[in-house]
């Protein structure tokens, strides 16, 4: 699938809460078929502190309207600038980038695990799985109830479980201590979130012989395999998160 560089029009900038917002972007040309797990490289114009592009996952796609969404967490200067964009503004993107999550085997019991901005790619993945006949469970972790995003769309995909660190909603504690892991037996887990969370989930999966794919959030400069900055140490040597990933099967990683 050819990569493109294009100015996309923002048709909605929806603030979910203090931390998260969703940009809906409209393309001039017909969108390519995106694969769940793919991402875009966003040019944040203007500030000397946002020199490089920012990688952001594809959160949702509407081929009918020829639009797609990015769910973004404000973590620094770049994402903050993006949060202030208005309808009608243009945003320069390189897309679509990266590999994608793999389909599970037939009839497998699936869990999607997301923490923080790691929930972003899981909506698109969840919808994709559903359209292929799967009914995954979904587990999200947030710092507290104020950070929780709207869950309606996820509820249409499958059951949604929550943890918050302060117990203000869902189970209290880190995502990895949710009771789902002692009760449920899954065949495959898809996971995206902070490194420490993904490592913990990967550890759990290895111990329990559960298939697991994680989507890494390594620092990137180019996003297209040219700079070799985003590498991850795998059983096959250093691979690029941007073109060989961002999705890796945990059996490939040296975790």
């Amino acid at each position: 699938m050819a990569k493109r560089i294009e100015d996309l029009k923002i048709i909605e900038n929806k603030r979910l809460n203090n931390d998260f917002f969703v940009l809906e972007l409209s393309a001039n040309d017909k969108l390519p078929v995106f694969k769940p797990g793919q991402f875009v490289q966003v040019r944040v114009d203007g500030s000397p502190k946002t020199f490089l592009r920012r990688p952001i996952s594809i959160h949702d796609v509407d081929y009918g309207r020829n639009t797609f969404k990015l769910l973004i967490q404000i973590t620094g200067k770049g994402t903050k600038t993006l949060s202030k964009l208005s309808n009608g503004d243009f945003l320069n993107l390189i897309y679509p980038l990266g590999n994608s999550f793999g389909l599970p085997d037939k009839n497998e019991k699936i869990l999607l695990v997301g923490g923080g901005c790691g929930v972003a790619p899981l909506l698109f993945l969840g919808k994709y799985l559903k359209s292929n006949g799967y009914v995954p469970d979904i587990l999200f972790g947030f710092r507290n109830s104020e950070r929780i995003i709207e869950l309606e769309e996820y509820l249409e995909i499958g059951k949604v479980f929550l943890t918050t660190e302060d117990g203000s909603r869902g189970e209290k504690g880190y995502i990895t201590s949710h009771s789902i892991f002692s009760n449920g037996t899954y065949d495959k887990i898809y996971c995206c979130g902070p490194d420490s969370m993904m490592r913990a989930i990967a550890g759990y999966c290895k111990k329990n012989n559960i298939a697991c794919e994680v989507s890494l959030e390594n620092l990137m400069a180019c996003g297209i395999g040219a700079c070799l900055c985003c590498i991850v140490d795998t059983v096959n040597g250093n691979l690029c998160t941007c073109i060989d990933g961002p999705v890796f099967n945990i059996t490939e990683l040296k975790w």
């Binding site: 560089i5 020199f51 390594n218 620092l219």
Partner: protein
């Protein structure tokens, strides 16, 4: 129509816009964004004799108007290049230049000899300026005797166009330029990255696994431009300028200062089409200013009072 062509020795370049080593992959990474064959040349990834894994992650940090990298010459080695990469890129209708690196003088010599045999590679760029490897690299480029020795040895073993890429991490760049010119380099390219560092204040630790790394991007442009100007005045061989070129105007600064050509580096990460846009911009500038050949503006500021 303006004439954008220039030559290094007997090697003709159709225009003065090349891409810089380590920032443009081998070319195919950019096929979706531009016609690589339109460029004056591409300098492919730093290549070593043996395969190298490079440095540990994290290898990159963003800085004001720039970035630090500590890639450390990750590449699959010359065998792999010859067998797998060379065939796939030799169809490009542009000058493909291989950037060669070693820990010892012999490494450079062997690499140059190997590349001498590759028909579609008319030139090598001798990288004596990589700040991200423990042995070789910048060590050669910050010591006059070593710079002389490695240039002499490669020159003796290699008959095609030899470009030597200088390190900016020196007191007097002109000394190095003169030494490599004396030893038979056909051209000098500069600058490689400037040694820098960044600390994550929240985590209280260095941003890079290697602590220090190479600074590139617009932040270094004034320093690069100064060095290119100094060197271009001091040597007779063509100079290829780079360091922070993002726009047409940036590229023109280097040409006006005396560079015969430019390389586009970090800019390609931010805009993969930067090199082509700059090429088009230079042509437009020449037309607007009423010049018909690129060489009329090369070193222009040195010719007027």
């Amino acid at each position: 129509m303006v004439n954008l062509g220039f030559s290094i020795g007997d090697l003709h370049f159709k225009n003065p816009v090349l891409t810089a080593s380590g920032t443009f992959g081998y070319g195919p990474e950019f096929d979706d964004f531009l016609d690589v064959s339109r460029l004056g040349g591409i300098v492919v990834k730093g290549t070593t004799l043996e395969p190298r894994e490079g440095n540990l992650y994290p290898r990159m940090a963003e800085t004001p108007s720039g970035m630090l990298n500590a890639v450390g010459l990750q590449n699959k080695g010359i065998d792999y290049f010859e067998k797998n990469i060379y065939p796939s890129i030799s169809g490009y209708d542009t000058n493909i230049i291989v950037n060669i690196n070693g820990s010892y003088v012999d490494d450079y010599v062997t690499l140059a000899e190997r590349i001498n045999t590759l028909d579609k590679i008319p030139a090598v760029e001798l990288n004596i300026s990589c700040p991200n490897v423990k042995m070789g690299g910048m060590a050669f480029g910050t010591n006059l005797d070593s710079a002389r020795e490695v240039t002499r040895a490669v020159r003796a073993a290699y008959s095609k166009i030899l470009i030597v890429k200088l390190s900016p991490n020196v007191t007097n760049i002109v000394d190095f330029a003169k030494v490599v010119e004396e030893e038979g380099a056909d051209s000098i390219s500069l600058i490689n990255t400037i040694l820098g560092m960044s600390i994550d204040v929240e985590k209280m630790r260095p941003a890079l696994s290697t602590i220090t790394g190479g600074l590139s991007g617009p932040a270094i442009k004034p320093v690069a431009l100064r060095m290119v100007w100094q060197v271009a005045k001091a040597v007779k061989i063509p100079v290829i300028g780079m360091g922070g070129i993002m726009t047409t105007s940036d590229a023109l600064e280097f040409l006006l200062a005396g560079a015969s050509a430019v390389q586009i580096g970090t800019a390609s990460f931010i805009d993969p089409q930067a090199s082509i846009k700059i090429l088009e911009g230079i042509e437009k500038y020449l037309i607007e200013k009423g010049f018909s050949e690129i060489k009329e503006i090369v070193g222009y500021i040195n010719r007027t009072k």
